[in-house]
Every structure is written in C-alpha cells, then in structure tokens.
Amino acid sequence: MNLLLVALIPFAGGIFVAYISRFGRLYSAWGAGVVTLLALAFLYPSIADVFAEQTVIQRWRWIPMLGLDFAFRLDGLSLLFSLLILGIGILIIIYARYYLSEQDDMGRFYAYLMMFMGSMLGIVLSENIIQLLIFWELTSLSSFLLISYWQQRHESRSGARMALAVTGGGGLALLGGFLLLGEICGSYDLSVILASGDSISQHPWYLPMLILVLLGAFTKSAQFPFHFWLPNAMAAPTPVSAYLHSATMVKAGVFLLARLYPALSGTPEWFWLVSMTGLATLLIAAYIAMFEHDLKGLLAYSTISHLGLITLLFGMDTPLAAVAAVFHIINHAIFKASLFMAAGIIDHETGTRDMRRLRGLWQFMPHTASLAMVAAASMAGVPLFNGFLSKEMFFAETLHHINQPWGWLMPAAATLAGIFAVAYSLRFIHTVFFNGTPVDLPKTPHEPPRWMKVPVELLVAICLLVGMLPALTVEPILGVAASGVLQEKVPDHDLAIWHGFNPAVWMSIIALTGGILAYLGRRPLSVLHDHIGNRLEFKSFYNSLIDLLFKIAGQITRLLNANSLQRMVLVFMLFIMTLGVTSFIDSSPALTGNRVLLPMDAVSLLITIILIIAALGTVIMHRQRLVSLILLGAVGLGVALVFVKFSAPDLALTQLSVEVVTIVLMLLALYFLPQYSPKESSQTARSRDALIAVGAGTGVGLLVWAVLTRPYQTIADYFMSNSVPGGGGTNVVNVILVDFRGYDTLGEITVLALAGLGIFAMLHQLKLSGSEADQQGRPWDNDMHPLIMASFVRLLLPLALLVSIYILLRGHNLPGGGFIAGLITAVALIMQYLANGVSWAQTRLTINMHTVISAGLLIAALTGLASWVFDHPFLTSTFGHLNWPVIGEFELASAMAFDLGVYLVVVGTTLLILVYLGLVHKESHTNHVRKRIR
C-alpha cells in the first residue's frame, strides 16, 4: 500500500497546493514541502527490505484483459531514484520559493511540480511496464506544463511543445516496444521480464522491440539525434531545469536502460545501438557545450553529454560499467542540480545568463562562486570530487575492448570528451566569476537570500563527501542500486580515490591538461565551431520539419477535401462501383439464372421506350428547369403505370399523389430559383459524369437482370395466409404496413413529421421575396385567382374529401390507406390555397398543423401502446366484426386507428410544408398572416 501512496501522494498534493495557494502565496511552497516529506515517509517502511536484498512488490488489479495491474516495485534501483527524486525535489522546493517572483503563480508552479514528481516516482516504482509507460507519458505532459510555465514567452511555448513532441513521441515508440516486450514475455510484469532475458533476445521481434524501447529511452534522455529539445527546454524557470535535467526527466531515459538492462542487454544489437548513441551524444554535446553563451545552455549540453556518458556505460554491456553508470547517475544528479541552482542564482541576481555579459562576479557573490566552483570541478571530473570517481570508472571501462580492432577508439573518444568537459567547466567558472569586472548588467549583483543557497550548499557538501569518502557515504546505496539494475550479485568494485597509476588515471590527466589547453585555445576553436556548430543543434531542422508537416498536411487535406459536393458524390460513386466490380470479379458468377421469364408484349415495350425517352429527355433538357420538371411529371406517371402493370395498385396510387405534391413543391421553390442552369461543366466533366452514369446504370441493370432471372423463396406466403385471419384485412400490402410491419410505418410517418418540422425550422425567420416579373421581364398576370378555377376548385373540395375518406376506410381491404388518403386531403386543401390564395384559405383553415402532426404521431403510437393493456407486445393489432342492426356487419380494426394516425401526419406535414413555404413569401409583404399557422 505504501508504494502506491508514494506515487499518488504528489498527485493529490498537486491539487492540494493549487488549492491552498489562494490563502497565501507561500502556502503552496510549504504544502509542497510537506507533501514531499510525506511521500518520503511512506517510502521509509520499505527501505529496510531493499537493503535486505528484497524486492518489494505491491499489486492491485486494474484491467485484467490487458494484463494491466497497478503494481509497484521497490528494489535498489527504484529506491535510489526515489531518494534522488524526493531528496533533490525538496531542495528544489525550497529554492523555488525564493526564486519565483511576485508575479509568478506559486500555486500553479508547485502543483505542476508535484504532478511531475509523482510521475517520476511512478516511473521508478512501477512493476508493470505499461503502468511505467503511463507515468512516463505523464512526465512528458507535466514537464510540458512546467517548461511552458512562463507561457507568455515565445521560447517557453515553443520549447515546451518541442519537448512534448520529442519525449511524448518517444513515449509512443516505447509503448509499441513495451507491447511487443509484453507479448514476448507473456507478461508486462518486470519480475517476469527481467527474468527472461535469454528468451527475449532470441525472439524474432527482439530487434524491432529493442529499437522502439531505445527510441523511448533516447528521446527522454536527450540522446543524439534527439538531443535538441533539451536546450530549448531551458526556457523553463531554473528550479524546473535544475530538477528536470539533474535528477528526473532526462534521468528517466537512463533509468529505463538500467531497469531493462537484464532483459535487453547482452546482445550485439544492444551494444552497438546503445554504446554508439551514447558515444556520439557524449562527444557532440560536450563539444557544443564549450561554445554555448547561455549559462543554462552550457549546462544543458553538459547534461546531454553526461547522459551520453551514462548511456555509453550501459551500452558497454559489462556489469562493472553498469555499476559505474549508476554511480554517475548519482553524481551527475547532485552536481548538476547544484550547478543549475547556481546558474539560477546568477540569473536571478544579475538579470542575465549571457556569458558574454557576465564576468567578475566573484567579488559580488564569493559564496555562490565557491559553491559553483566545487560543483563545476565535480562536473569536470577533478579528483576529490564525486564526479571524478565515476568518470574514472568510466575511463577504466572504456579500456575493456582495447584488444579488439578499433578498440582504442573508445578510450580515445572518452578522453576527448573528458577534455571538452574540463574545458566547458573551466569556461563556466572563469568567464562568469573572473575575467574582469562586469559592465552594464541589468541588475547590480549580490549574494542571494540565505535559504536560496542552502540547497546548493547541501548538494555541494554531498559532492565533497562522496568525492572524498565514497566507501562510507555512497557505497551502500550504490550497492543495492547496482544490484537492482543487474538483478544479480554486484561485481567487486573498489570506490577508492586512488588506484595507482593505471591507464584510467592517465586518461584523467590527459583530460585535465587537455581541457585547460583547449580552454586557453578556445578562440581558434570557436572559429571552427561557427562553421559546424549550429548544424548540430537541430533546432531549425526540427522547426522546418514541423512546418513542412503542417504544410503537407494542409495540402493533402485540401486536395482530398475541397468541400465540393460533386467531388463527394463522384468519390462515392466510384467507391460503390469499385466495390461492385471487385465482388463480381472475385467469383465470376453466371449472370443469368434459370427462372422462367415473362414474355414481353408490344404495349409494355412501347411504354417503356417512351418512358426511357422521357427520362433521357429530362436529363438532356435539365438546364431548362421548368421543362425538365414537366418531363419529370411524365416520368413519374410512367413509373406509376409500371407499378400498375406489375400488380402494385397501392404503389401506383402513392406514386401519383407524391408525384404531384413534389411537383407543386418544386414549383414553389422554382419561383425563387433561377429558371435555367448555366452551362458551366466542361465537356470533359460531362463526359466523365456520363461515363459514370452509364456505368452505374449498367451495374444496376445487370443486378436487376441477375436477380430477376433467378428463382427465389420468400417469407411472403406467411403474409398471404395470415393477412385475413391474423390481420383482418384482404389488402395484404396494407396489412403489412399497418400490422406486420407497422413499426416501419410508425418510423416512416416520423420521418415525414420530421421533414415538416425540419422545413418549418429552416424557413423560420427566412424572408423570401419573389420577383414582380418572370425571367423574360414580362409582368405577372393581374388575375391572381382566375374565377373559373376558383369556383370549380371549391366545388372539388367536398368531392376530394369524400374520395379521401373512401380511400382511408377501404385501405385495409382494397388499395388505399392512410397515406394516400392523407395526400388526397392535403392536395384538396392545397388546391384551395392555389385557387383562392393564402389569405383566403388561411382564414378558413385555422387548425394548427403542428397539433395535427403531433396528434397523428400520438394516435399511431398510442394505438400501438394499447396492446400493452392486453399483455401483448407493442403494435399488436386486434380486429372484430360487429353486427349492428340495419347497418349490417362491419369491421373495426385497431389498425384503422393506426392508419388514422398516418393520415393525420400526412395531412399535417404536407400542409405545413407547402403552405408555410407560401406563407413565408407572403410574409415579405405582410406580417400578420404567419401567426395563424403556428
């Protein structure tokens, strides 16, 4: 339980400190300190177990399907890192409390910092690698927030985004790697993974997995060529830099190398990939560091270089090298944290970090200068300081392969890097604290507040203690940490300051003298640097890459999505045709089946030909809109005749009614629209479209042919035999509509109602005003409502209503039904509007159409619901034959009520649409009419 709390307390603490900051600026600093101590306290109970060579594992189930548990692990390595994170963390908290200025939001800062701390602890304490990855990405996210803390600054934003892109991207690669690793081992638990090193390296996925994992590690620890994000992350407040780049963020990368060392190492792939990356980073970064002008920049590149060193050590793939790596992790964390803090003090007290402006600060801040000098000496690897010890172990390990061809290369490179390190350390101290007297600094420098120096003092003291008394101080923790890395007994190593004149000592001596010489001869070197230096920084390369990415994305997106309907339809058609063609090619079936076909008669042939000609005529003349509309009417009539021919009277009735209403609606719209479509498609486009049309038509034609020539069996017989006994109607189509598939019809009238509502909403507040003359400029006829039409149309109304009731009532047994009846009623009423005008008709038809629609829907739905009373499912119909005196027998069916609902919806919707469209136009002249329809 306690390990879970160690990782989670900082997250809860983050929220806590953000909250308490409202009570006082410094509350959050205190809060953060308490939270950190609390985490440390929860860590404490398990420490003894670790020193007793035990691995503490605590586990909670989370997602079994994924093999993802909340599992925490404390071994030497985890312990070392936890202590570094928490220990340096508390120093940073103290330091930052003085560093941050009045304008900075303390609550936000400490909240982010706590989140970051929790994420780091999560990484190092994870037993499950997926869980490790979760915390890994959380460090990317929280570091994004920390780096962009001063969000109004451009370099903060861009630095943070760059860090997020690189480390977050690396995390994604790591995710891939971990998934493969988990699959190889059959578990995401480190205990399993660390025990199955052999099977891992023999697995065919080893190399891709390794590359993915290393991508994660290398991006995080800023290894070449992913190093460029780190210097840009220096835009963060210095406490953040001190934390992220000494003990945490970048160390996560090397932590991962250490963590997976037993599982992944021991192969040539590991050796070459890790050591070469480390070596390149070590050299290149150390080289650049020599020429950096920004104090933090110098430290940043130095950090990269030291991380390269650690990486190189892991890559060397010997147990002792791993021990050295762990040792250097500790040392680097301590001296780098103190150096960053010192740099922060300088920045804080002088207002600049530019080494071209800083000089002679010794006289203003001797105390700080002394501290910085100790830390820098440690960084340079000067004897008696902790850095020296691990560096010498490093030098010794480089000689491991000296007998192999090219074996001299590694010690040579290591020495060269040592020279660079001495040179930049020297430069840091000399330029800033000596080298004359400062001029023109933004602030007059002086020593910082007492408590700002305390963390530095503590760290520097550790540098010295470890440097001089390694066996007493660092040995125990180094021992358990190294055994945590190796997961086996740690090889013998001697942490003495002096081992006699061995080759490593000679390398150190060369590095020290060479470094001093290089610093003295820095001017010619910087000329050289001017030629190649910037190329190694990669920042502009990254930026142009990102710019290119956005540019290409923009181009492709614009190419794909021109926001053109024609393009969409074209693509859709081509897609359909591709699917259709491929499915046929795949199985090369016989197109024609063996059903007995119907003979063709001359009348059908002629009517079909006429229909086809009318259809083609519509297409050819489609630019003359009114003409094409008239032709469309003919085609619709033809289709209705086809329905009649093929035994579908109900369809013919429906088609005819719908056809006319559609034409009326189109005419209403056409009044406002242009009368002619311009000829604007190119010949090519038209040919292309014609080709597609012919293709689609042929496809559908063949499909029809193929289906029609095949015999089939359907569920239709059931309907035929149950229509009368079960549905109470002889018109099977109608019984299907109101009974067998009444649910479809319920949906269908909802669609209709929705169309009405949608159109009403669309026209809402839309002002339409038509022209006073037709397209030829001829004024409209004065006679708005020709008398002869008006009087006969009025006469037709009762007649049409009679017909519509007839159609409604007989629908169940003979062609007809609610829908057709509804359309007839609607059309009869529309006729009144047409013949007598909106105002005239509106005063005579005062029913609210919304109510009619609603009533229709409710009647239909409630008819369906009524069956619940009889414990039947929704829409179960019932019917009975009543025998009344005089009238005789007649049928009552619940389906009729349902059909009435249909009828009402149709009437309501049709009238709503047509009349409202007419009204909206009227609206542009007068304002009083509209109220009535609502």
């Binding site: 997602i63 598939r741 949608g758």
Partner: protein
C-alpha cells in the same frame, strides 16, 4: 406479463417528441424540463437494460406479436444495450448544454432532439434490415433538422452537402436491401444470416455484391475514407450541442458495420464469410491518417475536432477491422471514450469560441477569456483524452486496440499508423492549445464598468454551468478509465456474443443456424 423494457428506449423519445410538439406553445422552461427529465429517465432505462442483458440473455421483442422472421423484432443484446447507454449519456449532456440557450435559436429543437434519439435507439435495437433503413432515415432527417438549427451560411452549405450525400447513401441502402431480399427472400437479420450462409453457389456473388453495397452505406455514415468528406464541415459548422450529439452519429455506421458483418457476413457465414475483411482495415488505417492530416491542417478548433472525429472513427474501425474477440472488445471500449471525449471537446470549443467573441475559435492569438485557467485545464485534459495519452480512457482504448493487433499480420502498419498519428495529434493539439490559451493577450483593464456588472456576472454564472457539463463528460471518461477493468470485461463479453452469432440467431429464430 411480458417485458417491454426492450422497446422503452424507442417509445419514450417518440412519445416525448410528439408531446413536445403539442407543448410548443408552453414556456421554454417547461419544454426544457420535460426534455431533460425524459432523457434522464432514458439514461436510467438504458442502464437497467444493460444490466439485464449483461447476464448474457438476448432479449427479443416481437413487435405486433408476429413471430420472426415475418414481423419486425427488436433485439437487445449486449452491443445494442451498450450503444443505447452511450447514446443516452452523451445526449443528456448535449441536451443540458443546449438548454443553456442554443435551443432557443430556432423552433422545434427539443422535438427534433427527442426524435433523433428515437431514430438512434431504434437503429441500435432493430433486428430487421429494412427497419434499420427506416431508422437510419429517422435519425438522418432529425439530424438534418438539428444540424441546420440556428441557420447561417456555412451551416446551410454544410447541411446541403450532408443531406444530399446521405440521400444518395439511403438510395444505395435500398438497392442493397432489395438485392438481399430478392435473393434470400427475407429481411430479418438473423434469418438473413441463416439464409446467406446456406445460399446457392450461383447466388453467392450477388449476395456478396449486396453486402458490399451495404458496406458502402455504412462506411458513408461512419465517415470512412474515402467517404468522410461530408463530415468536417457538417460537424464544424453546426451548433455545439448538436455537434456533441453527432459524436454518436458516426458510431451508428460503425455499429452497423459491426452488427451486419459479424452476424450476416461473419466468419461463420460460409461462402459469404468475412466479406469486408479485405476492405475494412486498410480503409480504417487510411481514415485515421487522413483524419490526422486534417487535424494538422485545421485552421480553427471546431474543424480540428471534426477531423479528430474522423481519426477516431479510423481508430475504432481499425479495431473492428482486426476482427478478433479482443480487438472488437477494444473497439467497444474505445467507442464510448471517443464519443464522450469528442462531445466534451465540441462543447468546450464552443465555450472558447463564445468567450473569444469575434476571434471565435480560429487559431489566432486572442483575448484572455473568462475562466481561462479552468478552461485551459479542461482543454489540456480533453487533448490528453483525444490524443490517447496516459492515463485516461483514450490511452486505455488505444492500448487495448494495439494489444489486440499484436497477433495480426498487419501489426507493423497498425502500430505504425496508430503511434505516429498519436504523435501528430499531440503536436497539433499542443499547437492549438498554446495558440488559444498561451498566446492570449491579458486584458487591458481588469475591471468592468458598473453598467456591465450584472450582465457579465450573469454570463459568467451561465458560463460556469457550461463548463460543469464539460467536466461531467470528462468525469465519464475518468470513470471509464478507473472502471476499465469492468468495462473491458463487459466489452469482451460483448465481442464474444457478437462473434458467436448462433446465439443471436437462436434467440431470434428459436432454432440454430
């Protein structure tokens, strides 16, 4: 006493929709209250339904008391109940956001909203292919109405494209259904599954054609490449609550793909088995990439979210395209996540756009907005969710999909595409976020004049409840993350149910295949 629970999620919104039409003259407050209460009840109902079917039983509701395959049946299995619950949850929050004021931009918002739910729920529950078409039309027409709600040039144009392309899609749907009926003589999905599996050899090619045509229809609704072109404008230019509700709309296409191509054309379907296997995965991968390229190319936030929806559809269909128990389970976990996250993002984008007044949601530096801290934090969280970064549900979802992809032959492609697109999403969202929140100029004068005091105060209060709705949606995602164990167990059970269609067929037809 027979149980009507399976039909309640359909009937309630229908009755409510009709009722709200009657109530249209009542005060807006009444309409809002009725609407919210009914959707809340729907949440409870669908939750209860899920609880029932989670026992493994498949509820079959025979409408009109006609036995299948002759009458229409509703089939509530785990998948259907899952979709229903997700729908009702997302619609509840969309509705809560809408009643902050969007609903009064035009008439009939609430009736359209209820009928939209009627269409969605009906589509998820139906066990009949033609009835699926009908409910597609209902939900489409309702969505047309909602999409156009409020009006405006860009919205109208996007709506026009959306409507026309979907009309073409509906026509295609009918062609496909017709062909299937012409060959197999039935419409009931279970019955179709039985008949398709035992189809005569000479009919197989035609059935496959029909199946693929149907796939094109669903691909259009789901916005699968190359048929996603309608989506960006439609989603970017509609009102926020509608866009949030539309987060579920593409999922209807995905649902249908899952349903039809496991049940009728699944791996046990004889000579029509695994019909879309060669198509789905490659297209889904391409959709993901195209979506993310769009995310990078976007010039304003809502457009970016629309493309994120495209990308999420790609991801979802990758999961379905892998077509194993675990991948489908992963997809079904990812589905609610992407729905809630997209909904939250659309709402948040609207809050940002409103606060930035004339700058709207364009990626240009603008003024510091009210509650910028909490808004920025929410943006950060939503971005994490959408990009699939740890620790939230987006990560869990992607992880489940990736893990399920491991045995698949196309693993390098799937993993490469998913990881790289995640990175690109991070890059794009980091840029958008820093543009909208970090580059904001601080207000010149912090104090408003006394005249404006009450007005701005009121606006801030209402702004706070808008933010609270976003927070609730995010809380759903967090709940999904914490309960990932339970949820993934459920989705795995769902996937198992889907990949053993005999159970479905047995429940509907009463006989085994």
């Amino acid at each position: 006493m027979i149980s009507h629970i399976a039909i309640l999620p359909v009937i309630c919104p229908l009755l409510l929709g009709a009722l709200l039409l009657l109530l249209q003259k009542q005060s807006l407050q009444t309409v809002r209250a009725v609407s919210v209460v009914s959707v809340s009840i729907l949440v409870v109902l669908t939750g209860y339904l899920l609880d029932i079917v989670n026992e493994g039983e498949i509820l079959v509701y025979e409408l009109g008391n006609w036995p299948p395959p002759f009458g229409i049946v509703l089939v509530a299995d785990r998948l259907a109940a899952w979709m229903l619950l997700i729908t009702s949850l997302v619609s509840l929050f969309a509705l809560l956001y809408a009643i902050q004021g969007t609903d009064s931009d035009g008439p009939h918002f609430h009736a359209l909203f209820q009928l939209q739910l009627f269409g969605l729920n009906g589509a998820f529950l139906t066990g009949d292919l033609f009835n699926l078409f009908v409910f597609f039309e209902i939900l489409l027409l309702a969505s047309y109405g909602l999409l156009l709600h409020g009006g405006g040039r860009l919205r109208t144009m996007a709506g026009l494209h959306f409507v026309i392309i979907n009309l073409v899609g509906s026509t295609l749907f009918l062609f496909a259904v017709g062909t299937l009926y012409g060959l197999l003589g039935t419409l009931n999905m279970a019955d179709l599954a039985v008949k398709a599996a035992s189809a005569a050899d000479e009919d197989v090619a035609l059935i496959r054609t029909a199946g693929l045509l149907l796939f094109a229809v669903f691909a259009l609704k789901a916005a699968l490449l190359p048929l996603y072109l309608w989506l960006p404008a439609a989603y970017a230019y509609t009102t926020a609550p509608v866009a949030a509700l539309f987060a579920i709309m593409t999922k209807v296409g995905a649902y249908s793909i899952l349903r039809i191509y496991t049940l009728i054309f699944g791996s046990q379907a004889g000579s029509v088995a695994d019909l879309i296997a060669p198509w789905l995965l490659p297209l889904a991968l391409a959709t993901l990439i195209a979506g993310v390229l769009g995310v990078l190319a976007s010039t304003h936030l809502r457009q970016q979210i629309a493309y994120l929806v495209v990308a999420s559809i790609g991801t979802l269909l990758i999961a379905f395209g892998i077509n194993t128990h675990t991948s489908i389970a992963a997809g079904l976990f990812y589905l609610p996540h992407s729905t809630f996250a997209a909904a939250a993002f659309f709402l948040l984008a609207d809050i940002v756009a409103t606060r930035r007044s004339e700058m709207s949601d364009r990626f240009e530096p603008g003024p510091v907005i009210a509650y910028h801290r909490i808004t920025g934090t929410l943006f950060f969280i939503v971005a994490i969710l959408i990009a699939g970064l740890p620790p939230l549900s987006g990560f869990v979802g992607k992880l489940l999909i990736l893990q399920a992809a491991i045995p698949h032959a196309a693993l390098p492609w799937i993993m490469g595409a998913m990881l790289i697109t995640s990175l690109l999403t991070i890059i794009a969202l980091a840029r958008s976020g820093s543009m909208l929140f970090y580059r904001a100029q601080l207000p010149q004068t912090p104090h408003t004049t006394t005249n404006n005091e009450t007005g701005s105060q009121q606006k801030l209060t209402s702004g706070f409840s808008s933010l609270a709705i976003v927070v609730c949606l995010l809380a759903l995602c967090v709940a999904l993350t914490i309960g990932a164990g339970t949820v993934s167990e459920f989705t795995l059970a769902t996937a198992n149910q889907l990949l053993q269609p005999e159970g479905y067929v047995q429940s509907v037809l009463g006989t085994a295949r």
